[in-house]
Symmetry: C2
Subunit: 433 residues, 2 copies
């Protein structure tokens, strides 16, 4: 039986999971693949810590390049993370004709266009299922299953940390700070959680999925990103009263010949499946021209779920190696010569429904003037609710609007603020069906 040799760069949580899976499921994998996947070398800065693996110590090295340069190795698993050294390793591996499997969403989102170009020139496969939504096979679904579908829209809960925090606040009434602290304690959040809670991690994933779905170049820069740090317990409670749940959603939607690309806290009706996706679980909805909505749910992070995605990519590339079918599926779903120049719709042009909460001045006529300003900008108000709380001068006022244009909404809010009809900044949460 043929042996495919694997080199792993980075023996952190996921790297250890991959090594463990290749050891524990050795028989299973060979009975499916018809070849053995052997860990030939592993590079990590720390090769002293015992990770409970059976791989012999002489296969461990602190020198990543020695793994990449090893002529016996067929596939490199890049689990270094970050964009600098990982990119160097990528480029070197491509130059050496090594196929690559990665979980590095930041690298693919920021440098994918360039790296896939290099890989194509060298005839090298790059697989990145683990970079988006953990074990959920959304990359394979986009690249293969939906091959005959024009994609209308996609949406996803793709950051476990944010979903964990929002679930804790929603279901247990925790404060944002406590929920974040718990997420960190339970290993669902990094010591520096900025990338997660500010929405950038989700944006990386959206940039990748948009490219796969719409045949556009990966475009991270034009994505609108708003994290969950301003979501309050109050807004979550109000949302529940109206029959909605707040989730950090990534949305990629075809609108008037452009693609909406936005990441922000979103109110979702309680009967939408997204509303039932809780804790650190991820979910992606894709709407194809033939399939209609397809909804995939699973663990979006963690040692073994991510390892599972890596191993499925290893098996895929190994099948290409065995049958000589390298680059069988285009990296980004579409052949590079058939990609289009779709651009991202400016956020100002996005049309959606809104939840707005003001601290409105508690004086006669204020509601009428606020409504008037909304009217001037063609924003219809579907309901108005004065809430308990507030202080001597102001009361919390919640409005739900009909479909309105982001630019109009922004200007209306600026007017309301400049006329001093409200105190502080209004809270704006977009509502999706």
């Amino acid at each position: 039986m043929k042996t495919i040799k694997i080199g792993i760069l980075g023996l952190g949580t996921v790297g250890t999971g991959v090594a463990r899976m290749l050891e524990e499921e050795k028989d299973l994998i060979s009975s499916r693949l018809g070849a053995e996947l052997e860990i030939a070398k592993i590079a990590d800065l720390d090769i002293e810590t015992d990770r409970g693996l059976t791989v012999s110590r002489d296969r461990l090295t602190t020198d990543a390049f020695s793994v990449i340069d090893d002529p016996d190795i067929d596939i490199i698993v890049e689990l270094i993370g970050g964009e600098t050294f990982a990119k160097e390793c990528f480029e070197r591996a491509i130059a050496k004709g090594k196929h690559i499997v990665t979980a590095n969403k930041a690298l693919i989102a920021s440098h994918g266009n360039e790296l896939f170009q290099l890989a194509a020139e060298q005839g090298v496969d790059i697989a990145f299922e683990a970079s988006v939504a953990g074990c959920i096979p959304i990359i394979k679904t986009m690249r293969e299953t939906l091959a005959g579908n024009t994609i209308h829209s996609l949406a996803g809960i793709m950051n476990g940390t944010c979903n964990y925090i929002l679930t804790k606040i929603t279901c247990e009434g925790a404060s944002f700070e406590d929920a974040l602290a718990q997420a960190q304690e339970n290993g669902f959040a990094e010591a520096d959680p900025t990338l997660d809670i500010e929405g950038y991690d989700t944006a990386h994933k959206l940039a990748i999925l948009n490219s796969l779905a719409y045949g556009m170049k990966i475009n991270l820069d034009d994505i609108y990103v708003e994290g969950i740090t301003k979501v309050t317990r109050e807004d979550i409670q109000f949302a529940e009263e109206f029959g909605y749940r707040i989730k950090l959603l990534a949305i990629g939607k075809r609108t008037n010949g452009a693609i909406e690309a936005r990441v922000h806290p979103t109110m979702i009706p309680m009967d939408n499946l997204f509303a039932s996706v809780n804790h650190s679980v991820n979910a992606v909805d894709v709407c194809g021209s033939a399939t209609g909505d397809m909804f995939l749910v699973g663990k979006g992070a963690g040692m073994m779920p991510t390892a599972s995605a890596i191993v499925s990519d290893l098996v895929d590339i190994s099948r290409n190696l065995i049958s000589g079918s390298g680059q069988r599926v285009p990296y980004l779903s579409f052949r590079s010569d058939r990609m289009n120049d779709l651009s991202i719709l400016p956020m100002d042009e996005v049309i959606t429904r809104y939840y707005v909460r003001f601290m409105a001045k508690d004086k006669p006529g204020v509601l009428s003037r606020i409504s008037g300003i909304f009217g001037e900008y063609n924003i219809s108000i579907r309901s108005v609710h004065q809430k308990d709380g507030g202080d001597e001068c102001c009361v919390p006022l919640v409005m739900l609007t009909s479909m309105a244009r982001e630019k109009d909404m922004r200007q209306a809010l600026a007017d309301i603020e400049s006329l001093e009809l409200s105190k502080g900044e209004a809270v704006l949460i977009r509502i999706e069906k």
Copy 2:
């Protein structure tokens, strides 16, 4: 650009959908595949009806064999259905070295072992994503994504007709008969709905998934099958009161070295995602050793969703044709020489929780005697509820049990019946987490 020639057998709803998709998404498909998929010939008994396709009439024939025998044709799409003529066509196509794409779950479930053996000998690909759960990529997920996972269990709502009927009864209080009639009016149920409502269609799909998940031969005969015809509005209402929803579930679960394989109405807790899968939508949950639960939801039937699965298989096989990588993935996930001899656990040995509804004699001591009999068979009762209704002699009595063995439950019910503690047959619905 290379052209792959397709022959379609059967121009019913799905066949028309496939032809339409290949026409309408021609550019999209070629920009993903790097080849054109051309409909070379279509066979159907009715070649007169106008189906709104642009395919020229001289490509239509009533002679299926002339399509199979056409030396120019690379891939046959079998959409004849049934097990007799379709099987003949399969065998002839394999003999002629044609690759085959099918939606025929009955054929694969009943004759797959034999057909895959023939196909292997001829080096022919057979793809059947459309045979289970419509556009949901569960076959690909089993065969490829989960390559490194030992599967612990799978479960699915895989019959749109049944789910539509149960949803109508649950959400609108319809009777079974009215719900079925509506399903037929809306095209969700066949004129003869037996295969659907008696659970056999779901069993076909379970037989296929069990083989893919566990590496066992396809085994349809040993699956326990119970349809939805005995589910009453009352039981659905009682279930809702206890916080459960009733769904026709297919369950394939690893238990003590064997595989549970059963299709029956199942009570599912309201917070389980399955409980929110309504109307004709399908859903499959797979629990892998590394992934944990993965949950896929989508349209399980209908013209375009099924066509989408067929086209994704056409693209897959075309990629094999282009890169010369035929039989790249084993038909049934596992290489034929590495399949195991796992068998199906006899239904008597299955352990689960139960909902039991009796018409119990309205006499003192009856409850105590019934409880006593359950006790004799080691069945713990978690709660007892006397319901309104009944007649001069009997009252509806609902019991929810702890985990119990099917055989014990059956014997307890037989004892209760023979002692005339209740009237008529007890209603038994299994409860899953």
